[in-house]
Amino acid sequence: MAGFNPGNNASGGSVFADMRHRLLMPSWITIGVLLVIPVLLMLVYSFLTKEFRGGVIWEFSLAAYDQFFFDRGLFGDEPVKIEWTYLTIFARSIVQAALATFFCLLIGFPTAYYIATRPASTRAFWLFMITVPYWVNLLIRTVSMKFLIRDTGPLNHWLMQAGILSEPLHLINTNIAVQLGLFYSYLPFMVLPIYASVERFDFALLEAANDLYAKRWTAMRRILIPVVKPGIIAGCILVFVPSLGAFLAPDLLGGAKNFMIGSLIEEQFKGSAGNWPFGAAASMILLSLVLLVLMFYARSDARSAR
């Protein structure tokens, strides 16, 4: 009786207290090796001097950050101006990621709500249908999207056959195509967390609101949405953050003019034209932005938990 018994709080609690640190070791090692060390490496590299064929020279330099924010002319002797090239790419990335988040929420919320309100026996089927496309590699799905929306692709073909368009809608290499790609890639990351919180939602609360003279939409706005907000915020983060750093959709669907930050960073580490410190610096700036978003989440979460 008094021996090892995880169900018994009195003895089981202390046994696990001893084991807690050992049990956590795999997580500590994983996070340490795969997350903390790479980020520190990136931070160090962003302050080094670039080697022309990729790689770095171990000499401290602020050149990477300088290059990102300031324009000193081709030979570095002109009056300092703000460098708009990268800031524009950054701004475009933020706008694209924000729009992708918005559209994913617009479509994802009703979808998640629909699934969560089906009979329990059919929910698994609908969730499966949401995740089915994700068994196929993202690269392949993005290329398929390219074929689908190109000028001579099936989308334009159908639209013209149906008489809706007289000439093909030019989508490839536009921001709209990138947006479509981002939206499609990350939609399930919006649906799943919202589903999880709507599924736990007690629908009797809507009845109670209804009983207290709230109309259907008022009850949704005042009761359902605030209660499932943690799911909505989690979904928004899961879409916004990877969208911000995405490079497949912008590369394949957006072309050279619709560059996003992810592609910019990717370029710096690819082939001989790369600039590792610059890529590292851009990554650090992106990371700071993401951290800002997460801090905003943590704050609103703490507020709603109060």
């Binding site: 009797a204 609101a209 009983d211 003279y213 709230a214 005042r222 605030p226 209660v227 709603s304």
Partner: protein, 364 residues
């Protein structure tokens, strides 16, 4: 009673697919009445409450609230409020905001609404908890918030769906008294759903006993306990001895009935809407406390003879089971306060008497 009619249901029927949840229910509930729908689970009492609240539509029939037909009004347009079984407090809102919600929805001016919330929280003695979140309250406190929230918009009728069933026994008994006081103070019609007969008997002005989607009997606690109209009510409310019987003679609703063992007893027919011809079969219903054990000193035989089975000690009483020769059993209660009353041992033959005027005859 000279009071106005708060809710009138007429020939209400509710069908779910091929299953009928309510058969032709008609009911009149008076103003300021504490009215209880009592029945076992699945009897249709909650469905009936939800029909009055507007969460369920009727398949047939009419629902009137103070003379206005409301069967087609959505729940949010009906001036009735509900206290839900699981309270259903809004978890993201403070106690104040929960109580305020209905007032905001009714567009009550802010200052007046604040005042009303304060008054409601005073009524349920939760003034000090106004800023708490529901999760920080005990079950009994949540229950009171639910009550305050439902009373705040001044509903014409308050519906309570087994509001005490989630509380533990002590709290449930305390809340019963409080509920009755609140009802009297608020001066509102309460329609209370429960499966707990003790709750129903202690709280209600009138009770409707329901079974199988139909109303079996409507009356005061006294009526229902003393004069059950059929076997179901007799059996469901309190404890009853139901003895198979036949009508031997009748004078209006005063019947002479046969008892097992051949004796006769005068029993009253409670259901005055029917008349039973001589020879009809049914049950004589006698409450355990109306059976009297005859002692040797009585020197006569009672109407029932039998053999003592077991004793069950119940604190204030001892319950005695007596087996009749034909295999039926009766229970009786002997007060333990009567120290001199020596209880017969199991296996002893005893003779029982029925207190005059207490037997009732019920048909099947």
């Amino acid at each position: 009673m000279g009071r106005g009619v708060a809710v009138a249901l007429s020939h209400v029927r509710k069908q779910y697919g091929s299953a009928t949840a309510l058969h032709d229910v008609s009911l009149t509930i008076h103003d300021k009445e504490f009215f209880t729908l009592l029945g076992p689970s699945g009897c249709g009492k909650t469905t009936l409450l939800r029909i009055i609240a507007g969460f369920e539509s009727v398949s047939d029939g009419t629902v009137q609230l103070h003379g206005k037909e409301i069967a087609d009004l959505p729940a949010n347009a009906r001036p009735v409020n509900t206290v839900f079984q699981q309270y259903s407090l809004f978890p993201h809102m403070s106690v104040t905001d929960n109580v305020l919600f209905g007032l905001q929805m009714r567009k009550v001016p802010a200052a007046k609404a604040r005042q009303r919330v304060k008054a409601m929280l005073e009524l349920v003695q939760l003034e000090d908890f106004a800023q708490r979140m529901p999760a920080q309250l005990s079950g009994g406190q949540q229950q009171r918030v639910a009550l305050a929230r439902a009373l705040a918009p001044e509903p014409e009728v308050l519906l309570l769906d087994e509001p005490l069933s989630a509380l533990d026994l002590k709290l449930r008994q305390a809340m019963r008294i409080e509920l009755k006081q609140i009802q009297e103070e608020a001066g509102i019609t309460f329609i209370f759903v429960t499966h707990d007969q003790e709750e129903a008997l202690t709280l209600s002005d009138r009770i409707a006993v329901m079974s199988a989607g139909a109303i079996q009997q409507v009356g005061t606690s006294h009526d229902i306990y003393e004069s059950p109209v059929n076997r179901f009510v007799a059996d469901f409310i309190g404890e009853s001895n139901l003895l198979e019987s036949r009508v031997l003679a009748h004078d209006k609703h005063q019947l002479t009935c046969a008892l097992p063992g051949g004796a006769e007893v005068q029993a009253q027919l409670s259901d005055t809407s029917i008349e039973l011809p001589v020879g009809s079969s049914g049950y004589v219903c006698v409450r355990p406390e109306k059976l009297r054990l005859l002692l040797a000193t009585d020197q006569r035989n009672g109407v029932l003879q039998g053999v003592v089975g077991r004793h069950i000690y119940l604190g204030t009483d001892t319950q005695l089971v007596v087996h009749l020769p034909d295999g039926q059993r009766v229970q009786l209660r002997c007060q333990n306060a009567q120290q001199n009353a020596q209880l017969p041992e199991p296996g002893e033959r005893v003779s029982l008497d029925i207190e005059p005027g207490s037997a009732r005859f019920v048909s099947h």
